[in-house]
């Protein structure tokens, strides 16, 4: 069985050096081994070692640089949004009459409420910026080419879902700006011929801005779209690990003259 990589185990959990004196049956020595045994116990039953070594210790091409961290940055921004969002939901009321009051209460009265809401608000902007920088990196490094086309497609779906998060989240503070911006956005959806009016109706949950429009946006914003984003991120990361990353375009493959073949036409 492959050994669990030592670098993954924090120092307190690492197997202590062989004592030399003592027979290992001493209760104190057994206690020292307990954390290591626990990790081993889990590892033996999950077979996590090959998976974790494959994912975390995979080879990356020569020339890998800081631009390759933009995807992780976007993921971190998403995790920040998810965590702060969960805690904002504890104080928010998705009712047209009470939403604005609950937001002002959250911002002004709740301990650190302004800070948590600020992280969510500015984090949204950061995530949009990072996801487009990541997209630009992929495009300009040619990392969307064979065999990674499908990962580009998944990434584009993630961009659209992120923008949907921006749209649905914008309404939730329910002040004048978010109300009228959402009216405009829903009516833009309605201008598509034939399907447009039905799409706008679905978003509004009816013909006008209805009593359920806000709760519909809230459900989309905190349940449906985040769930889809998490699923898509899973597929995205699976393909990244499976296919590996590309070298930057300025790194040339080493060509040995011997291996070159002359084509006879």
């Amino acid at each position: 069985m492959p050994k669990f990589p030592a670098a993954l185990i924090p120092p307190p959990l690492r197997k202590p050096a062989k004592p030399g004196d003592g027979n290992g049956a001493d209760p104190l020595e057994k206690l020292k081994d307990a954390p290591v045994d626990l990790v081993g116990w889990v590892d033996e039953r999950t077979g996590a070692t090959p998976f974790l070594t494959g994912m975390l210790f995979r080879h990356v091409p020569k020339g890998t640089n800081w631009f390759y961290t933009l995807g992780s940055g976007t993921l971190f921004a998403f995790v920040v949004q998810a965590i702060t969002g969960v805690f904002l939901a504890m104080y928010y009321t998705p009712s047209p009459v009470e939403a604005y009051a609950s937001i002002t209460h959250l911002t002004n009265d709740v301990f650190l409420g302004e800070f948590v809401r600020g992280m969510h608000k500015w984090g949204a902007t950061v995530m949009i910026i990072l996801i487009f920088l990541h997209m630009g990196r992929t495009f300009f490094f040619g990392a969307y080419k064979y065999p990674r086309e499908l990962n580009w497609v998944i990434g584009v779906i993630l961009v659209v879902l992120t923008l949907v998060m921006g749209l649905t989240g914008y309404l939730l503070p329910f002040d004048q700006r978010s109300y009228w911006a959402t009216i405009v956005a829903m009516n833009i959806n309605g201008t598509g011929p034939i399907v447009g009016p039905y799409l706008a109706d679905f978003l509004r949950a009816g013909a006008e801005f209805e009593s359920t429009t806000l709760s519909r946006f809230y459900a989309l914003h905190m349940l449906l779209v985040p769930g889809a984003i998490i699923a898509m991120i899973g597929a995205h990361l699976y393909l990244v690990v499976k296919l590996g990353t590309t070298a930057p375009p300025w790194i040339r493959a080493e060509t040995k003259p011997k291996s070159l073949r002359t084509e006879k036409v």
Partner: protein, 225 residues
């Protein structure tokens, strides 16, 4: 050039007329059209699909249902007959959706009918403040006798016809009537560029001619007066 065809390939022991040496799968009977295994695969998937549909159909219907509901026709009194004249508009507040506070209210501009414009002088005209570009609230400016939208610069004349900016049709109107000595405002309707009434449309949607088919009104919309 010679193309290999199936006739050229040598026949294996199982592919020709020779005796089939493979053992028959469990449950095999002569002349079966599907193996037992395939029948169970298809049956299992059908059951799974049925269970999925039993959950998804009600849920989707639940989310879509409000679109098909016909809202009750509400007539709200907005003022006495003497409150309105045919010189200018008077702004009144109409509640379009109750129970959602300010978000359910809208401003309506009401005036008496003007004979020179082909309107009934005994009747009343109620113009919606919802800009037909993308739904921002327009405001009536008496000095210029125009409606102006703050968002993208839509401008409408005294009758609500477009005279500038991006709007695609004249301002919507509301049906009006006089009951118990009060002016009442009823359901919304849209108009074509000739002010012909049609069923209510959302902002940004053209009216009249072929556009009536490209932007179908929702089934629950009341018919135009």
């Amino acid at each position: 050039m010679i193309l290999a065809t199936s006739a050229d390939t040598p026949k294996g022991p199982d592919s020709g007329n020779g005796p089939d040496l493979k053992p028959k799968p469990a449950g095999y009977y002569e002349g079966e059209s599907m193996t037992r295994r395939n029948a169970f695969i298809i049956g299992g998937q059908a059951l799974g699909g049925l269970a999925g549909a039993a959950v998804m159909l009600p849920v989707v219907g639940f989310a879509v249902a409000p679109i098909l509901e016909t809202p009750k026709e509400v007539w709200s009194p907005v003022g006495n007959l003497s409150d309105f004249d045919d010189e200018s508009y008077t702004a009144v507040v109409k509640t379009e959706r109750s129970g959602i506070g300010e978000a359910g209210k809208t401003t309506v501009y009401v005036r008496q009918g003007i004979e020179d414009l082909g309107e009934d002088p005994q009747g009343y005209v109620a113009i919606s403040t919802r800009c037909v570009h993308l739904g921002c609230p327009v405001r009536y400016f008496e000095a210029a006798r125009t409606f102006i939208c703050p968002c993208h610069g839509g401008v409408y004349d005294f009758e609500g016809k477009v005279i500038g900016g991006p709007p695609v049709r004249p301002l919507d109107r509301f049906q009006t009537r006089v009951a118990n000595g009060k002016v009442e405002v009823g359901p919304r309707f849209s108009v074509t560029s000739d002010l012909e009434p049609v069923r209510a449309r959302d902002p940004g949607e053209f009216t009249g001619g072929i556009w009536e088919y490209l932007y179908p009104p929702r089934p629950s919309t009341p018919s135009a007066p």
